[in-house]
């Protein structure tokens, strides 16, 4: 008989429920056997979760690195790995290897490159990569400029029932820009692109997805104009979803003042009005997914002039704490937040995760929701400390992580 664990006294947050419930979660083997207020069986190991939130492990859709220590700190039990690896995940063998990288503590779900070498030209072997374990298809860090290629990728992926994850920036407008056009970029003398580059890309790809009947997910959306297009597409009944990351609801382009390369991101940080629009889009349900977009980068990539530095931030450790701020500010409920962090990304990847119910896999995190701590780029669990939130006081910390019925 397998080991039984009872997590008692916690506040259970199931993303499919409206509100948290108090009670016990009983785990047998690698799955949840029951939830409720019945007393824990006498032979079970008791874990007292008093004062804690019991939530599904975070499913982080769209990370760039498999970084176990950072994921464990952040309560991430499953990660959708972007194909932007070296070499890119455009081959079944590479997909298979990436999928094995984290087990058993962490499940990595590789996302197949839509095109060979992510070059945006020839379609990659999507079906073979799906057979090797790829859970979705992505254009990578860049937009596919050729509309014909994108149309074919969407049609082909739709037939395979794979979601296409797109990067929403019009390549022609962006060019070699490293910032959003506006006062900050003008003062710093940075090559900047207008924020409308995002809406341009979103508008085209929605039109192509409509024609193909495809499921299309924009990994990160950050502007009011693009959210408006996605809102309308959802109202129309299209299978369009989008994500964003804490940087875009927490920071505006001012964070790049003084040429701070930790604030060099892709897409670039936007103006204050777009930051507000991002919060509004999270609150009204336009945003489906919150991702850390985890991309640790050392000094060789970041201690450079702003335009030469690589984009990206180490976000796995700060994702939950910053997201909990949205609940504290009453933009959404804790249950809705956990849907953005687990149930919705799991659905997009077609995996069974992100729920707390009998029969569900026992991927759970115990969160101390009010625990205060300070982000410190010098003391991160991640491979590199490139966080734009250095020094920020935050609240909410993961105390225990359970993957497949086993505490890590």
């Amino acid at each position: 008989m397998s080991i039984r664990i009872a997590i008692t006294n916690g506040l259970i947050v199931d993303p499919t429920a409206i509100a948290p419930i108090a009670g016990t979660v009983l785990i047998e083997g690698d799955s949840i056997s029951s939830i409720g207020d019945s007393p824990a069986p006498s032979d079970a190991d008791i874990v007292d979760a008093k004062g804690m939130i019991v939530a599904p492990g975070i499913v982080d859709l769209g990370v760039f690195r498999t970084d176990k220590p950072a994921f464990q700190f952040g309560g991430i039990t499953r990660a959708g790995l972007m194909p932007d690896q070296s070499p890119p995940l455009d081959d079944p063998g590479l997909v298979q290897r990436a999928a094995r990288a984290g087990k058993p503590d962490l499940w990595v779900h590789p996302i197949a490159a839509a095109t060979r070498d992510l070059a945006g030209k020839e379609m990659a072997e999507l079906a073979m990569m799906r057979a090797a374990g790829a859970k979705a298809v992505a254009t990578g860090r860049q937009w596919i400029a050729d509309s014909g290629v994108m149309a074919r990728v969407l049609a082909y992926a739709a037939a395979l029932d794979m979601t296409v994850i797109a990067h929403a920036e019009d390549g022609g407008l962006v060019g070699r820009a490293v910032a959003t056009a506006g006062e900050t970029a003008t003062r710093l003398g940075l090559h900047a692109a207008p924020a409308v580059a995002e809406a341009m890309a979103v508008a085209r790809d929605i039109a192509l997805a409509r024609q193909a009947g495809a499921a299309l997910h924009f990994r990160i959306v950050s502007t009011a104009a693009a959210f408006a297009l996605i809102r309308a597409a959802k109202a129309e009944g299209l299978r369009i979803t989008c994500g964003t990351s804490p940087a875009y609801f927490q920071l505006s382009d001012i964070a790049a003042s003084d040429f701070r390369t930790f604030a060099r991101l892709s897409p670039p940080l936007r103006c204050e009005a777009d930051r507000q629009a991002t919060i509004a889009a999270i609150a009204d349900g336009t945003v489906d997914v919150l991702t850390s977009s985890h991309d640790p980068r050392g000094p060789e990539d970041k201690r450079l002039p702003f335009a030469d530095a690589a984009p990206g931030m180490a976000g796995a450790e700060t994702l939950l704490a910053l997201a909990l701020g949205l609940v504290r500010d009453e933009h959404l409920t804790i249950n809705a937040l956990m849907a953005l962090l687990s149930a919705n990304p799991a659905r997009l990847l077609g995996i069974d995760a992100g729920r707390i119910a009998a029969g569900a896999p026992a991927d759970l995190i115990l969160i101390d929701p009010d625990a205060p701590w300070k982000v410190d780029s010098a003391k991160m669990a991640a491979e590199a400390g490139n966080t734009p939130f250095d020094g920020l006081p935050v609240q909410g910390r993961v105390r225990r992580v359970m993957k497949g019925g086993r505490f890590l």
Binding site: A185, F259, L304, P305, D308
Partner: protein
């Protein structure tokens, strides 16, 4: 001495309090009285540089000045070299080929190398915005920004302000029109910051494709119509247009640019009658400025800008090294 000296001493600060900065990286970091302090300091060097006999002052004797230019430059490097030599410094020039040094950790490595040679002041030009500041954070001696990407070129801003102050007797209230490729111009940014800080009314004129977003937030009035932007101006400052911008990407052709944005005699007639014509050089004659305007002995201050550039750079080198030289009030 020209007018304007007394008013700029108004801060009453002396010694290090008058200029508390270790480096000169950007005009944006300076208070108005600190800008005026540097301009006042430059005046003595204008006098020295015009002396018929030996133009020499030994105050930087024994100090090593490295001019590290990661981007090609003839005029600015020469100006800094002359400035250092006239103050008695040992000046060394480093031409770092952009291609080999620009990328990767080598920029920081180069900074560490320069530092290990115990330079007393380093003058840096680099093609990437913010790069000079990055190097300044890694070295122990004062760093002078000689231009970083499209960001700033602070000594150019200072020398242009000094030129205007000497010619017009003041900067406060003067209408300055800056025309050209504002988007890609560090000269424009430093001038906007410097002149608005000193009370000038600054207008910028650029084709819509070369106008940076939200430039009005830098307290300037933006025009795409040169004829409107030049009307009544006391100073007309033309910017150099790089050839590669005129191939259709930003501007259809040099001749169309000249038609819309070239400074001709007819256009200059719309400015104030005694308007001053300026250009940071090198000029594209017949494109952004007509020769007859550039060579106008009365209204053109273009050669004077070059002259005052040396004086301003002498002042900056002197002021920034005072702490190391243990000058009274600065140590």
């Amino acid at each position: 001495m020209p007018q304007g000296i007394s008013e700029t001493r108004a801060s009453g600060l002396t010694g290090r309090d008058a200029f508390p900065h270790r480096h000169l990286l950007a005009i944006s970091a300076l208070a108005p009285w600190e800008i005026s302090f540097l301009l006042d300091e430059a005046e003595q060097w204008v006098t020295l540089n015009r002396a018929a006999s030996a133009k020499h002052d030994g105050r930087l004797a024994g100090l090593t000045q490295i001019n590290a230019f990661f981007e090609a430059s003839t005029r600015t490097m020469l100006s800094f070299e002359i400035a250092g030599k006239r103050l008695g410094a040992d000046t060394v020039n480093m031409h770092a080929a952009q291609s080999s040094v620009r990328k990767g950790e080598t920029l920081i490595d180069t900074a560490v190398t320069l530092n290990a040679m115990h330079a007393d002041v380093i003058v840096i030009r680099h093609g990437s915005s913010g790069a000079v500041r990055l190097i300044a954070d890694k070295v122990d001696c004062p760093v002078l920004n000689a231009g970083d990407g499209w960001h700033e070129h602070p000594t150019q801003g200072l020398l242009d302000a000094l030129t205007i102050r000497r010619r017009k007797g003041r900067i406060d209230g003067v209408i300055v029109t800056i025309c050209g490729d504002v988007m890609h111009s560090r000269v424009a940014r430093s001038n906007i910051l410097c002149l608005t800080a000193l009370g000038a009314q600054v207008r910028v004129v650029a084709p819509p494709t070369l106008m940076p977003a939200d430039i009005d937030r830098m307290r300037v009035e933006a025009f795409t119509d040169f004829d409107a932007g030049i009307a009544g101006a006391d100073v007309v400052m033309m910017l150099r247009l790089q050839n590669e911008r005129m191939d259709g990407a930003f501007i259809p052709s040099p001749r169309e640019y000249h038609m819309l944005y070239g400074l001709t005699l007819a256009r200059l007639a719309r400015a104030a009658p005694d308007a001053l014509v300026m250009h940071p050089g090198p000029m594209n004659r017949g494109v952004e400025i007509d020769s007859i305007v550039a060579d106008d002995k009365v209204r053109s201050a273009i050669t004077e800008q070059v002259e005052l550039g040396v004086a301003v750079r002498m002042a900056c080198l002197d002021v920034l090294t005072r702490r190391a030289r243990k000058v009274e009030g600065w140590a």
